[in-house]
């Protein structure tokens, strides 16, 4: 009896799901093309090449949105997200291997991946929980400082150091936020801004954590040997940034899966309900304060873990990284990428972190071009580069993600 209803639900309630061959091909090719473009961006040296690539990227975005073929490509990736994700993972690995000896490119890719991990956390806070966190970089730095203290002064295994970075960042965040969780509107945002400024100033004037110079952090050595000493893998010469980039990518995969699992569950519905309408959510027994705290805490764990690994990769941390400007960059990444879409953080991370580097030689116009690109994207895609897909739950959903 129940299964008859269920079948009816699946037969009637499911979105149209064409698992056609062209659809599958599209789900494989779109991520390949995206990572191909990233490889291109890492490779280019001439300004005109960069410019051409940016124009091609913008054109692709417009076509995805405005042309029928583009829309069906996007739709194919959504309905066959399992295939698209697999293709993306393989493409990412291929990209890392291609650039295996290139310090600079790998450093940038690892940075993008770690910012994207923080982006998943920020998305949980902002896109799901509805809390604008303007102190993301401060919590990211707390993760790094935790790593500096624990890895530098204790023998704690480094995987636990990463976890500790997340826990400390979450605890400090909750202590800061608890008093204002019951208020509505922009108070929470204001408190996060104040906290970021406070933390940075405190780190600068107080010498406990190294003052303005900051602290040194030992390299990441999860299995005994330091990533910084890695020079070959399977007989191939590699940059020591390759293991970092791989670890960053693995961390992103974990954060992505956890975030996705939370979104596609009762928890995700609860957060959406509290964010959209606190009154309706309360009337049905949800406590807005509890859910905002949960979103903030979960997000901060990811931000802190990402910061800890970032600190270990760079070998140092100083108060500059905790500043308001850095926090704004992290927020721009998730807004530009598409609030609530975790892949968006990778794409926008590439635009926001790598593009300005590539425009180095035209210093004076660099920020101008960068700003125009960001505005152009948001003008044509107000939901971001990759808008958040509709959550469709239940058995009709084919892949795990």
């Amino acid at each position: 009896m129940r299964s008859t209803n269920l079948d009816a639900a699946i037969a009637t309630g499911a979105p149209p799901q064409a698992r056609s061959l062209p659809g599958t091909a599209a789900a494989i090719l779109v991520p390949l093309a995206a990572f191909g473009a990233l490889a291109g961006l890492l490779q280019v040296h001439e300004q005109w090449e960069t410019g051409l690539l940016v124009l091609a990227f913008l054109a692709a975005l417009v076509l995805l949105d405005r042309s029928r073929a583009g829309r069906s490509l996007a739709e194919a990736c959504r309905t066959q997200s399992g295939i698209a994700s697999t293709s993306a993972v393989l493409a990412a690995l291929a990209l890392l291997w291609t650039f295996r000896e290139d310090h600079y490119s790998l450093l940038m890719v690892a940075t993008v991946a770690l910012y994207a991990v923080a982006g998943v956390g920020l998305n949980i806070q902002m896109a799901f929980g509805g809390i604008a966190n303007f102190a993301a970089a401060a919590f990211f730095s707390i993760g790094a400082y935790t790593a500096a203290v624990l890895a530098g002064h204790t023998g704690l295994p480094h995987l636990l150091v990463l976890a500790a970075g997340g826990v400390v960042s979450a605890l400090i965040g909750v202590v800061m936020l608890l008093p204002v969780l019951r208020t509505r509107g922009h108070y929470v945002a204001l408190v996060t801004i104040a906290f970021g400024v406070l933390l940075r100033t405190l780190l600068e004037v107080n010498d406990t954590f190294g003052g303005p110079q900051g602290m040194k952090i030992p390299g990441f050595a999860p299995f005994g040997s330091d990533f910084g000493d890695v020079a070959t893998i399977a007989g191939f010469d590699v940059s020591f940034y390759l293991p970092y980039a791989l670890a960053a990518a693995a961390l992103f995969a974990l954060a992505f899966l956890a975030g996705r699992m939370l979104e596609r569950s009762w928890v995700g519905i609860a957060m959406d309900a509290v964010r959209t309408d606190e009154i309706a959510a309360s009337a049905f027994g949800l406590s807005p304060a509890r859910w905002k705290a949960t979103a903030f805490l979960t997000g901060n764990v990811l931000i802190g873990v990402a910061g800890a690994l970032y600190g270990m990769m760079n070998g140092f941390v100083n108060p500059n990284g905790a500043g308001f400007g850095e926090s704004l960059i992290m927020l721009s990444i998730i807004v530009l990428g598409g609030l609530g879409n975790f892949w968006g953080a990778i794409v926008a991370g590439a635009v926001i972190i790598i593009l300005p580097e590539k425009l180095q030689s035209i210093q004076e116009y660099r920020l101008l071009i960068f700003a125009v690109v960001v505005i152009a994207i948001l003008r044509f895609r107000p939901g971001g580069i990759l808008p958040r897909p509709l959550r469709t739950l239940g058995r009709q959903q084919g892949g795990a993600s």
Binding site: A9, T12, G13, M261, W266, A273, I279, A280, R391, R395
Partner: protein, 258 residues
């Protein structure tokens, strides 16, 4: 007949304004009460106090002998009270299913660890809830059942109301509070919604309903008994025919320009 919901002397003040003034109110199991009164007479405030969104100033309220006076929305919901809102309160960007599921969320395992690590149980639970939501939605409108995974923002006004009612019903409440469900709908849509409600009433004979409604034809059709509020006070309680004859009720409505 013993009362399911029993309120006495229920009072709510907003500063100097007495929005609810010593209200005595009782609903029996299976009864439908039409709650009427001019705008600003305290009907919505009564619902908000009953469901714990506003904390009452004084009085008493119990549901089947369980004290619900001044309790949290969570515990009042658990006791068996569910409602809809005068202004539609749906998550328009989320699916119809997400919206209906909000009605049962408080009974679900909401821990982060169980969500991450007990996926099998979650999946089975989701499937069962989807089936239940589909069944409820289809009872009101088969097309609504088919739209379970469409954004709620795509729906017509009447279907949005139906989703709100499904969201209230999915937790099997004992008392259903409907705040002007026909607001913003055409007379024809109103009639269809009331048909739905009456049909559902047949299947759930123990459900008690309080319906706020301005359309007198609707009140006549669906309610067993009527209560009239004016300035937060109960000025009439009784059968529909007596209500429209009542002097005080007539002046309350005429006086406020209704």
């Amino acid at each position: 007949m013993t009362a399911l919901l029993a309120c006495s002397g229920l009072t709510k003040r907003f500063g100097g304004l007495v929005a609810l003034d010593g209200l005595d109110f009782a609903v029996a199991q299976g009864e439908t009460i039409g709650l009427v009164g001019p705008n600003g007479s305290g009907k919505t405030t009564f619902f908000n106090v009953l469901t714990g969104l506003y904390s009452p100033t004084s009085g008493a309220a119990s549901l089947d002998a369980v004290d619900i006076f001044g309790k949290s929305p969570q515990s009042i919901g658990r006791a068996g009270v569910a409602r809809t809102f005068q202004r539609c309160r749906l998550m328009l960007d989320q699916t119809v299913f997400d919206n209906i599921a909000l009605g049962v969320l408080r009974a679900k395992p909401l821990g982060l660890l169980s969500t991450l690590f007990r996926r099998g149980r979650l999946r089975a639970d989701l499937d069962a809830t989807i089936a239940r939501a589909h069944q409820l939605a289809c009872r009101f409108n088969p097309q609504l059942g088919a739209a379970l995974f469409r954004p709620a923002g795509d729906l017509t006004m009447i279907d949005r109301r139906r989703v709100e009612i499904c969201r209230a019903l999915i937790a099997n409440p004992r008392l259903l509070l409907l705040d002007e469900p026909s607001a913003g709908m055409t007379p024809d849509e109103t009639r269809r919604l009331m048909d739905d409600l009456l049909a559902f009433r047949e299947e759930a004979p123990h459900l008690a309903v309080v319906l706020v409604e301005h359309e007198m034809d609707v009140i006549r059709r669906v309610s067993d008994r009527c209560v009239v509020l004016n300035f937060g006070r109960k000025i009439f309680e009784g059968l529909f025919d007596a209500m429209i004859e009542d002097r005080e009720v007539q002046t309350a409505y005429l006086g406020s320009g209704q």
